[in-house]
Symmetry: C2
Subunit: 285 residues, 2 copies
């Protein structure tokens, strides 16, 4: 794997660049980004070796698309038009249905692999890129059967070298479930941040009262709107469904409190404590 092109040198693209470089010493990492400052920073930080343009990818062994999901859908066809037969193109976005649908009948569909690494932080841009972000994390792969055998093999080798475990799903199921375990968390966190900021905007020192619990639940409200807006847009139906259920659960909890039924409040929380075992399951896997 000599020529690797990373489109979007942010948190995910940059972290992939770092780990690929660490695993394959002969590789040259080319960075492509609309944001020139990001490219300069990525070079200064040794995240990428060289700047490149989209027109350069004709000689790529691997192209990774790590840009907001709307930009991916807009550019994927153009990218696939340009690549050679042996090029593997991977997208790493948080939604999979629109992207898979958009290149369904592209003549180079076999060059493409739809993937979603369950890894990240609340930070963004090339300075957020870190070594080892993908180690022991899950990579979800969609429609693997539509990718050419040799390129499937190349991708699996790469993910294995990064220390990832693989799960296969169809794009529809991916988008539905990820709405619950990822997208909803982000909205709950953003709205928690909003509720507290609105209330406390004139009393800044009240935040002295905030402890690690608040910090943890509101952490995702630091996430990039440029990345998350198109995710919510593409996964609109599923995300709205999760919001309806979340709002219904909050409302029912509030009604128990209003009625003074604290026995049920206790029982609810006791049941949900079960999340401990589930989370331990995640960590152990």
């Amino acid at each position: 794997m000599k020529n690797v092109y990373i489109i979007g040198v942010g948190l995910i693209g940059g972290s992939l660049a770092l780990d690929i470089k660490a695993n394959y010493s002969e590789t040259i990492i080319f960075g492509i980004d609309n944001n020139e400052t990001h490219l300069d920073k990525a070079i200064a930080l040794n995240v990428i070796d060289k700047k490149a343009m989209l027109s350069d990818i004709t000689n790529a062994d691997l192209v990774i698309i790590a840009i907001p999901v709307d930009a991916t859908v807009n550019s994927i066809s153009d990218i696939l038009d340009k690549v050679s037969e042996h090029t593997l193109v991977i997208d790493v976005g948080s939604t999979k249905e629109d992207i898979c649908y958009s290149i369904e009948s592209h003549q180079n569909r076999r060059n493409f692999l739809a993937a979603h690494p369950i890894a990240g932080t609340e930070f963004s841009g090339p300075s957020a890129a870190i070594h080892g972000l993908f180690k022991d994390k899950t990579m979800i792969i969609c429609e693997v059967e539509k990718t050419a055998f040799k390129l499937q093999e190349k991708a699996l080798q790469l993910f294995s070298d990064l220390g990832m475990r693989i799960r296969y799903m169809n794009p529809k199921a991916h988008d539905k479930h990820i709405a619950y375990v990822s997208h909803l968390s982000h909205i709950s966190s953003f709205m928690l941040g909003k509720t507290v900021i609105e209330k406390e905007k004139n009393e800044r020192d009240i935040f002295d009262m905030a402890g690690s619990g608040f910090e943890s639940t509101v952490r995702l409200a630091k996430s990039s709107p440029a990345m998350w807006t198109p995710i919510f847009q593409q996964n609109k139906t599923n995300v709205i469904e999760t919001l309806n259920e979340y709002i219904a659960n909050l409302t029912q909890f509030k009604e128990l409190m209003e009625k003074g039924d604290f026995e049920s409040v206790y029982d609810e929380m006791k049941d949900i404590n079960h999340i401990k075992d589930i989370l331990e399951g995640i960590i152990k896997v």
Copy 2:
């Protein structure tokens, strides 16, 4: 400070015991707890030195009440009845209005200090007790002027020895603001856990899709219902107010999505990103 009695040898009581022991070598830590297993475990873990009964506190230099807030309100009067003139009694619960009100005209009111350490984890019981939990954390003190001068001084020395910074508030303001920066976070987290568990109960392996973002927002859903139910009960009015605002914000966000107004979705998140600076403020203080 020779004889220190910790009522409730859980996360907070146990961690205070550990830090007091580390700071005052001559101190004997007596543990009082309804749960005999907790007491045995606290001794085995060197969290306390000896078991004791409520009737023993007559010779106490310091009594710390670290039990669920309903139990505190039920027992505080009885505790104050028993103590000698030089005994400092501190409660460390997460609500302050009911407790302060309940002993307002107790003849030993001057022995009591209402405090709330902004520190904790999602775990509970004596095995959750850790060294250094209070270092660089905030201790909120309510109605300090109602505590005897000498005992104020003793308490401030103790908190300073634990490495804490002090903030003074009245109980009403404490309960109102803590509903936003702590109690609401817990409910948002519990309900997030509920929404995901309900949806995914028959598909356990879907939790492989959950990453650190979900883990962080749902962490507080591991918290103890026995501790939190009475907190919500005592702070019912304020917590319901925060829930109404939180639900309204979620509903409005959902409606923006339903209308397809993703420009406003973006703007909302951009505004809330401001939480970064606020949280940095907390950490820096």
